[in-house]
């Protein structure tokens, strides 16, 4: 199986869906690159206060690969060195993917209303959530509201609760650390000073000032 593992990856295609990042125009993605993208998405998501565009295609591709590899490994003896090595790597990648998805679910649960409202305002090509995430968030929101209704709101006079007053929003001005992947000009910080974003330099700035650079892939949250 050793040689066809790589081929298998190169057969996978990443469709060109006009996603806003410009490096999507390549048709093939190597396994290393796929992993790097997922690691990068994981770190960005972990450190950003708001939800970022979902890297669903990468996740699907990776999960497909993991499943396929696991299948191939079944035939090999469990003490075989190659099997152990692959298994260890599988566990590591599975952790990254799971942690990435958990991190998003956690934001969906905490900022449900805010995220859903923002998502509805976005044009179809700028959506940030997967269908399953939207469904999860909507159902979650509904379940909490129904719970409030059942245990509290129906026991008090109507209109005493204003749902718009209890929207939980992330603090978009919270400071984040990042490394510049590709030099991208300057940003003006909150003290009206210009900060030059040179390749490999590291900074701490409010998320909102640099969120578009994260999505473009010019900077990486750390």
């Amino acid at each position: 199986m050793s040689d066809d593992e790589l081929q298998l990856f190169s057969e996978e295609r990443v469709s060109n869906d006009g996603n806003d990042s410009e490096d999507m125009d390549e048709e093939l993605i190597t396994p290393q690159k796929l992993l790097q993208r997922i690691e990068s998405a994981w770190m960005n998501e972990k450190h950003s206060p708001d939800i970022l565009p979902f890297q669903g295609e990468m996740v699907d591709l990776m999960l497909g690969q993991l499943a396929h590899m696991e299948e191939n490994l079944e035939a090999i003896d469990r003490n075989d060195f190659r099997k152990i090595t692959h298994k260890m790597e599988l566990e590591r990648i599975r952790f990254i993917v799971a942690s990435y998805l958990r991190c998003r679910l956690q934001k969906l649960e905490e900022f449900t209303q805010h995220i859903l409202t923002e998502e509805r305002k976005r044009p179809p090509d700028k959506k940030r959530l997967s269908d399953a995430e939207v469904k999860f968030a909507e159902d979650f929101f509904e379940s909490v509201e129904r719970h409030f209704q059942l245990l509290a709101l129906r026991h008090i006079p109507p209109n005493q609760d204003d749902i718009t007053k209890r929207i939980v929003r992330p603090n978009l001005m919270s400071n984040v650390f990042f490394r510049v992947v590709k030099s991208c000009g300057t940003v003006v910080n909150t003290n009206d000073e210009e900060v030059e974003l040179l390749e490999d330099s590291q900074h701490m700035l409010p998320y909102q000032l640099i969120s578009d650079l994260i999505i473009k892939g010019d900077i990486q949250l750390i």
Binding site: S2, D3, E5, L6, P31, Q32, L34, L35, K46, Q65, M69, F81, R82, I84, T85, H86, M88, E89, R92, I93, F95, S99, N171, M173, S174, N175, V176, F177, T190, N191, E193, D200, S201, Q202, H203, M204, P206, I222
Partner: protein, 201 residues
């Protein structure tokens, strides 16, 4: 971030090993490793190197920077430079800790090496504390010639400033916004008050 996650990321570093067996190349997702030839040095990810070492399948080759003389120079450089110097390894704390645990018998002058790494870390932590002070006092104050810089700070080090620094900075920004709002409100009232008084007279 969780310390375990920082260690996890550090374990991806490529590390030299000398295997004691032969085996064909393995195509991992992250990279292709091997072929393994007994006695010949090669590179594997650190997590695998440690696993193999535990199974007595290899010897770990130390990275060149785990060296007393080199670290002594590094320490001097770190002392002289007001900014953070570039470390020879992005995850030097994680990697050295793991190697101290799993390859202790292969590290010459291990106690001195340990102390040196700890010293360098401490010097950098002291700089980080001054940087934090500088950020929180405000860059707009008189010391504007000193630039705040996080360049070359490693992940573990950034994490020692987290969540305190970003959190405190958020809080200050929030207070400033409230203060500005409040003082502009005050101005408004004085203005309208004077407007009111002038019209009555």
């Amino acid at each position: 971030m969780d310390p375990e996650e920082i260690e996890f990321i550090g374990e991806n570093v490529s590390t030299g090993i000398i295997p004691n067996f032969n085996f064909e190349a393995i195509h991992l997702i992250s990279n292709t490793i091997g072929p393994f030839k007994a006695g010949l040095p090669m590179y594997v990810p650190l997590w695998l190197g440690i696993h193999m070492k535990k199974q007595q399948k290899c010897r770990l080759v130390l990275p060149t920077w785990i060296d007393r003389d080199l670290l002594e120079d590094k320490k001097e450089e770190e002392k002289r430079d007001p900014n953070f110097t570039k470390m020879p390894c992005e995850n030097y704390m994680v990697v050295s800790k793991l190697l101290f645990t799993h390859a202790a018998d292969d590290i010459p002058n291990i106690d001195e090496v340990k102390t040196l790494i700890k010293d360098i870390f401490d010097i950098r932590q002291a700089k980080l504390r001054s940087t934090i002070d500088l950020v929180l006092i405000g860059n707009s104050s008189m010391e504007s010639d000193i630039k705040v810089s996080f360049n070359n700070l490693t992940l573990l080090e950034i994490n020692t400033a987290r969540p305190f620094l970003p959190f405190a900075n958020d809080l200050i920004a929030r207070l400033e916004r409230v203060y500005q709002q409040h003082s502009s409100n005050l101005n408004d009232t004085t203005q309208s008050a004077s407007h009111f008084s002038s019209s009555t007279y």
